[in-house]
Amino acid sequence: MNGFLKEAEKLIKEYKDYVPSHKEVCRILEKEFLTKEDLAKLLNVSSKEDIMLMAKKAQKLTRENFGKVVLLYAPLYIANYCQNGCVYCGFSYSKNYKREKLSFEEIENELEKMKEEGIDSVIILTGEDRINSSFEYIEKACSIATEFMSEVSIEVYPLYEEEYRRLSNIGVVGITIYQETYQKDNYQKLHPFGPKKDFEFRLNAPERALKAGFHEACVGPLLGLSEPRKDVLCAILHAEHLLEKFPKAEISISFPRFRSAGTDFVPSYTVSDREFIKFLVIARLYLPRVGIVLSTRESPLLRDALLDVCITKMSAGSKTTVGGYAKEKDEDAGAQFEVEDRRSVSEVVDVIIKKGLRPEFTNWVKGVKGI
C-alpha cells in the first residue's frame, strides 16, 4: 500500500472523535503551515463559526497564491463504451445502454462548437474500454484537440507510462483521474469486475503520467462512496505526495459529490453542503498552492459562493453526453451524471467578472510546454 494511505489510516484512527475547540481552531489557523495532525483535527470541525473562520483564511491564501483569476474548461465526452462494473455508474458494462463513440469528424465538430462558445481548454473523456476506445483512438482525438485548443487534458482509463509519454509528446498537458474511493476494501466491492478492479494501477496513474512529462494532475475521491472524511484526508495526502515526488508539477484536487446516474445505487454517505465546503476549505489551508477544481455537478449558487473562497478552476457550459455540444441533445438522457449548473459559458463568465475576478481560458499556451 502507498505510504500516504497508511498515514491517513493512522491519523483518522487517532483523531476519530477529536473535535478541536474554537480556541484550538484559531491556534491552528495562526500557523503558516498546518501539520498532518492539524489537518485530521480540522476535518472534525462542525461549528459554523469555525468553518467561516477557516474559509476566511482559505480565501486569503487563494488570492495570494492564485490572484484574482479563475480558469475555465469544459469536458468533451468522446465515447461511453465501458467494460467495468462500477455499481454506481450508468455507463457500466452491464447497463443496457446505447453506446456511442464519436468519429474523428464528429470530434472536430464538437471542438469547433466548444471553441465558438469561447472554451480554449478541454478535457477529453471516455469510458474504460481498451477495445472500443483504444489508446490510438484517444491519441488521435487528443491530437485533433490540440489543433483547436490551447490546452488539452485527459480523463480516460489509466494508461501505461509509455502511452502517457506519447500523449505528452503531442501536447497533452494534464490528467484527471479520480480514485473514486481510497478505501481499498470498499473499492473492491464497488468495482466488482473490469480492469478498474486494479486499485493500485489506478492510484499510481498520475505518477506515471507526471513521470512521462505531463505538467498537471488532478486527483480526488467521489464523495459518498465511502466515509467521506477519510477519503478527503487520503486525497489531500495523495496530492501532497505527488507534489513531493514531482515538485515541478501543478497538482489539483477535486471532490465531486455523488449524483445519481441512471442507476438505483444509493450511496452510503451523503455529504451536506456545509461538509463539502469544509472539505474544500481544508484542502486549501493544508495545501495553499494546490489547485481546487469544481465541476458543474454543483449548483450555481454554491459554485458562485465557492468562487470567492478557494476555487481555481471550474468547468463551464458542460455537456456530459457523447456528442452533446454539436448535436442538441436531451441533456439528461445518456449523461454520465446530472449537471446542476446548466448556465452557458457566457453566463458563468459574467458571474466571475461580477465577483471582481478574471476568467482565464489558458493555463499553458500551446507550444510553451511539451511540443
Binding site: 497538482i251 476568467p359 481560458f361 499553458w364 510546454k369
Partner: protein, 254 residues
C-alpha cells in the same frame, strides 16, 4: 529618470499582470499611476477568445513589456519560453524565472545562470529573478544581464524585505540595477526597498489582489518615489545611543 535595459524610465515601479482581476487596469495604471513596465507571463498569452482578450492588447504601446518565463522548470524551457515571448510581444525584455517546485516557488540559481548565458547571447535584455545571493548576482553581471531581481521574501507572501542583510551587499557591490522582486506586500515595504538603494521594485500580488488595484498601484508609485528621494538625499543613520554632549567629552577630548 533612470536608465535600464536601454530605456529611460520615469517610474521605478514595475507591475506584474498575472494576478490582476481585469486587464483593463493595465492601461489605467499606465496613465494614472505612471507605471511603465508590465511583466507578462508568456504561458498565459493566450489567443483572443469570445470572452477574453489577449493581455497584450491592454498594454499601451509606449509601455515596456517584460516577458516572464514563469512556469519554466529548467534553462531549456526558459529559453524556449523567452523565444516564444519575444515573438508574441516584440519585446526583448525577459524576466528569467525558473522554479524547481510549485510549493515555495523558489528560484533555481543554477538553471537561471545557464538560461541567462544563452539569452544574453541571443540578444535579449535579461532580468533574472534570483535569491539574494551576491555571488550569483556578480556572475550574472559578468555575463551581461541588464539587472538582477532578488526576492525580498518568498513570492506572494507579502512579508516585505525579509532579507535586508543579504540584499544590501548586492545593492552595494553590483554595478547593474537591482530590482527587488517578490514578497513586497505594502507600500511601506516598497519605500524601504528604495531607501535601501534598490533601483526599482516589481509588485504583483499586493496590487492585483487588493480591493482597488488601481489606487493601490498609485499608493505604491508614491511610496517608491518617496523611498527613492530619501535614498538620493541620504538617510541619516539611526543612533544607537543618545548623543547628548557630556561633560566627560571635555576630559576625553582633552
Amino acid at each position: 529618470m533612470f536608465e535600464i535595459g536601454g530605456k529611460i524610465l520615469k517610474s521605478r515601479l514595475f507591475v506584474g499582470t498575472g494576478k490582476l482581476p481585469d486587464y483593463s487596469l493595465i492601461e489605467k495604471m499606465y496613465y494614472e499611476a505612471g507605471v511603465e513596465v508590465f511583466a507578462v507571463a508568456v504561458r498565459r498569452i493566450g489567443p483572443n477568445t469570445r470572452h477574453t482578450r489577449n493581455v497584450l492588447e491592454y498594454i499601451p504601446k509606449d509601455a515596456v513589456v517584460m516577458v516572464n518565463t514563469s512556469g519554466a522548470q529548467d534553462h531549456r524551457e526558459a529559453v524556449k519560453i523567452a523565444m516564444i515571448g519575444r515573438e508574441l510581444t516584440n519585446s526583448d525584455w525577459v524576466k528569467v524565472e525558473i522554479e524547481k517546485d510549485t510549493k515555495y516557488l523558489f528560484p533555481d540559481g543554477f538553471e537561471t545562470l545557464k538560461a541567462c548565458e544563452i539569452l544574453v547571447k541571443e540578444g535579449f535584455k535579461v532580468f533574472p529573478y534570483i535569491y539574494p545571493d551576491l555571488n550569483l548576482a556578480k556572475e550574472l553581471e559578468q555575463i551581461g544581464v541588464e539587472a538582477v531581481m532578488p526576492l525580498g521574501s518568498p513570492i506572494g507572501t507579502n512579508k516585505g524585505i525579509g532579507c535586508e542583510v543579504l540584499l544590501k551587499p548586492i545593492i552595494n557591490e553590483v554595478k547593474i540595477p537591482v530590482i527587488i522582486d517578490a514578497g513586497i506586500g505594502r507600500p511601506s515595504h516598497a519605500a524601504q526597498a528604495m531607501e535601501m538603494g534598490a533601483d526599482a521594485v516589481l509588485i504583483n500580488t499586493a496590487i492585483a489582489t487588493s480591493a482597488d488595484p488601481l489606487r493601490m498601484a498609485m499608493a505604491f508609485a508614491k511610496a517608491v518615489e518617496a523611498g527613492r528621494l530619501a535614498f538620493e538625499v541620504g538617510i541619516l543613520k539611526e543612533h544607537e545611543y543618545a548623543q547628548a554632549s557630556s561633560p566627560l567629552e571635555d576630559f576625553i577630548g582633552g
